[in-house]
């Protein structure tokens, strides 16, 4: 037993000393790396700026190339047009794109994810095919980074795949959504097609995104979804019509104020607040007096925008707590 204690003590003491040693080593190493990085960035910044401005620069050695790539990818997130093309061209010529595409096959998931992320910042369309393949990677981090990069590259060819991963949670929901928004109008044909999908989750996502990316011409498609069998899709359609401020859909959205599901009624009320038009005021006032909190709140707040005069009058006539609150809040804002 004593021997066991002795060996345990040596092992535990050794473990503690190792951790302390690691702490000291890490402090010193990080300090040195930081000094070196700052010095290299200072030296290479003029070259990076020259590249952004479309100038040709001399090749740098392998060590500096890594720092320069880091600097350029930081700029790449902020530049567009010719500057973006210039940077993409540099990464293609210098072999950066090729190297990162190859890294998508690395056995380490974090390296593949880092490569997928960097390819988006490099801005080269050469990477689109490899990134689409990476959407099927076994690691969620890699798929998420690939989705983000496809959005940055405005890879319209990947629109349908991105909607798919957005809905099935194969990548981080917010990142996939943002990637689809990044595609802009290029995503619209795929989204329009998906509003008629058999899968209600796909319909809901497509309708939601159409509200953010779509145009006035999408209004009839969205109005049809106000009669969808799935309540989530109906609410999503109401929100989308509100975002598009689709005046031609006002009557259909007004009808949705009578939906049997409270969150659809709430979404319709909010949408009417965005669309405007006094025609909706009486129905909103009635909903603002109803029992369901979220729907009544949404209706009272929408009234502030739709018909402030009616709201002010109702506020004095005991139309319930939601109307009273909306009146008081409106008074503060004015």
């Amino acid at each position: 037993m004593q021997q066991l204690f002795a060996w345990s003590s040596v092992a535990l003491g050794g473990g503690s000393v190792t951790f302390v040693g690691l702490l000291v080593f890490r402090r010193i190493r990080l300090y040195r790396l930081e000094v070196e990085r700052q010095e290299a960035e200072r030296r290479l910044e003029p070259l990076a700026l020259a590249l952004v401005n479309g100038e040709e620069i001399e090749a740098v050695d392998a060590r500096d190339a890594g720092v320069l790539a880091g600097l350029l990818s930081r700029y790449a997130r902020q530049v567009t047009g010719d500057s973006s093309s210039a940077l993409a061209g540099y990464f293609e010529r210098s072999g950066g794109v090729e190297r990162e595409v190859a890294a998508l096959g690395d056995r380490r998931a974090w390296r593949r994810a880092a490569a997928a992320y960097l390819l988006g910042d490099m801005g080269s369309e050469w990477a689109v095919g490899a990134l689409r393949d990476a959407l099927c990677d076994g690691s969620r981090d890699v798929r998420t980074a690939a989705a983000r990069s496809l959005g940055r590259l405005r890879a319209s060819a990947a629109a349908e795949e991105l909607v798919g991963v957005f809905v099935t949670a194969e990548v981080a929901h917010g990142v996939a959504g943002q990637a689809l928004l990044g595609l802009g109008s290029a995503a619209l044909p795929a989204l329009r097609g998906l509003t008629g999908s058999d899968d209600p989750r796909l319909r809901e996502a497509a309708v939601e995104l159409l509200g953010l990316l779509g145009e006035a011409a999408d209004s009839p498609l969205l109005v049809a979804r106000l009669r969808d069998s799935a309540a989530e899709v109906r609410a999503s359609a109401a929100r989308a019509l509100g975002r598009l401020a689709a005046e031609d859909a006002a009557a259909a959205v007004r009808a949705a104020l009578d939906d049997r599901i409270p969150f659809v009624r709430a979404a319709a009320a909010r949408a009417l607040g965005e669309i405007g038009g006094r025609d909706a005021a009486p129905a909103l006032l009635a909903l603002a007096r109803s029992d369901h909190y979220d729907a009544a709140q949404a209706a009272a707040r929408a009234l502030v925008r739709v018909d402030p005069t009616l709201l002010a009058a109702a506020g004095h006539e005991g139309f319930g707590p939601h109307v009273s609150e909306a009146v008081d809040r409106a008074a503060i804002r004015s």
């Binding site: 004593q2 880092a114 008081d328």
Partner: protein, 472 residues
């Protein structure tokens, strides 16, 4: 007597072996989890989420009872959070100091009529106010009913789909809300709640509701708690979260899906451990329904908070925490070893019962029994010394490993002098401080037996107020 002694010795040794094995495994899991989290963070698209119209808005709930010294600074820090859309619901829980007055003055509050959801019954709300300068700031002035009651009142007024409960004396870092919400943004249908890391603000320099310089407290007692918090959050919570058994989200900083909190009936007012009780209840609710879900700890959203610097206040706090744990364990005893609760029922919950609730009992009984055994010649001196040395070194290893994890990951203490000081305290906390904690936790059983319900007076110096005073 001999048999009793032998049984006690075997129980104590088993307890010691299993507990430390768990700690060692958790340290490994935490290293792996934090490393993965940091790598993933680099390509998680945090900036994109901030700019995205798909990022859902959040209602922040801030219960306040006699918080006049620090509440204004706390709210100022919340108003500068980097998140697309928030509302701040401050609930003044019948404060008897100048909390309400300082709020009215600092934020130009105007009285309004406020509709409340009343999903959970609460004490009456006397008045509601909105800030003229910050329309997203709502203040509810209600009759005193305790922290849980105040949180439920905030819940009734919250308009957004997620609620973030934070302590009135806490200071959130600029990105804290975005980071704690990230798992929910990434998996909205799966993630039910998340909690961030709580760090100690004593010794830090605070300016306009922001921690601008991280430092260590002068008080040795507070510094010991810095080491303790590293271990509890970076190792403990990270480990539990990785095993899908996180039973605690600190009351100081936690984010919840509002509809779920309403569905389970809000925060319980009958316990002082309303934070742990809510999380256990959420687990039960979701597992009873067979739903797939996650409750996550996120290691990088930081909430700074003030910790006690005197033994009396610290002892009261620890007794209260232990009492809360005891009440929760008793209320949810049906979870213990029930197959339907999976890893929670077979590992997470039993761990809390055996090692957290009854642990102090074994740790306190252990030394007198050992001394008795030695005095009566049943234990040899070399065995006694060997056991003590191994216990001490194991404690030191676990503390130093937690400190090393912090240094390798977030490195929030930039001063080398501070790190050396933390190393010294990592060793020192094993001699006296941990044992003192056990005594306080044991005393909580007395409170439980007396069915004590009060929180006890909390003396806040105010993080911002203290810094202003010391810098002036």
């Amino acid at each position: 007597m001999t048999l009793a002694l032998q049984v006690t010795a075997v129980v104590a040794l088993l307890y010691f072996a299993v507990l430390n094995a768990i700690y060692l495994v958790f340290t490994g899991i935490a290293w792996r989890g934090v490393t993965h989290h940091l790598r993933a963070r680099a390509y998680a698209g945090e900036n994109e989420a901030f700019a995205s119209p798909l990022t859902p808005p959040i209602s922040i709930l801030l219960p306040a009872y006699n918080e006049a010294t620090g509440i204004v600074e706390s709210i100022r820090s919340l108003l500068t959070l980097r998140y697309p859309e928030i509302e701040i619901v401050v609930v003044n829980d019948g404060s008897t100091d100048g909390t309400m007055g300082s709020l009215v003055e600092a934020f130009d509050l105007v009285r309004i009529r406020k509709a409340l959801r009343e999903a959970v019954p609460t004490k009456p709300v006397r008045a509601a106010y909105v800030s003229r300068r910050h329309p997203e700031l709502l203040v509810l002035d209600k009759e005193n009913g305790g922290k849980a009651d105040a949180l439920n009142t905030g819940l009734s007024a919250a308009q957004y789909p997620y609620v973030c409960a934070i302590d009135a004396d806490a200071i959130l870092e600029e990105d804290a809300l975005m980071r704690v919400a990230k798992p929910m943004l990434d998996d909205p249908s799966l993630v039910a709640a998340t909690g961030g890391i709580v760090r100690i603000a004593n010794g830090c320099r605070v300016d306009h509701g922001r921690v601008v310089e991280v430092g260590l407290p002068r008080s040795p007692l507070a510094t010991l708690q810095v080491v303790e918090y590293f271990r509890a959050f970076l190792v403990g919570r990270m480990g539990w979260s990785s095993l899908r058994s996180l039973l605690i989200i600190s009351g100081a900083f936690g984010l919840f899906r509002r509809s779920l909190v309403e569905a389970v009936g809000g925060w319980r007012t009958e316990t002082v451990g309303e934070d742990i009780e809510l999380v256990v209840r959420l687990h039960r609710y979701l597992r009873d329904r067979g739903e797939e879900y996650r409750i996550d700890f996120v290691p990088d959203p930081v909430c700074w908070t003030e910790v006690p610097e005197d033994l009396r206040t610290l002892g009261r706090q620890r007794r209260r925490w232990q009492r809360g744990l005891g009440e929760t364990v008793w209320r949810h005893r049906g979870v213990f070893l029930r197959p339907r609760y999976g890893v929670i029922g077979f590992f997470g919950f039993p761990y809390f019962v055996i090692f957290e609730l009854f642990g102090p009992l074994i740790q306190i009984v252990g030394p007198p029994v050992t001394i008795y055994a030695y005095a009566t010649g049943r234990l040899s001196l070399p065995f006694l010394i060997g056991f003590l040395v191994v216990s001490l070194l194991l404690g030191v290893l676990l503390s130093v490993a937690a400190l090393a994890l912090e240094e390798f990951s977030f490195r929030r203490h930039p001063s080398t002098r501070d790190v050396v000081r933390l190393l010294v305290f990592s060793v020192a906390e094993n001699i006296g401080y941990r044992q003192l904690n056990d005594v306080w936790r044991l005393l909580a059983f007395v409170d439980l037996a007396r069915r004590r319900r009060t929180w006890g007076a909390q003396q806040r110096r105010g993080i911002g107020a203290r810094n202003s005073a010391s810098s002036g």
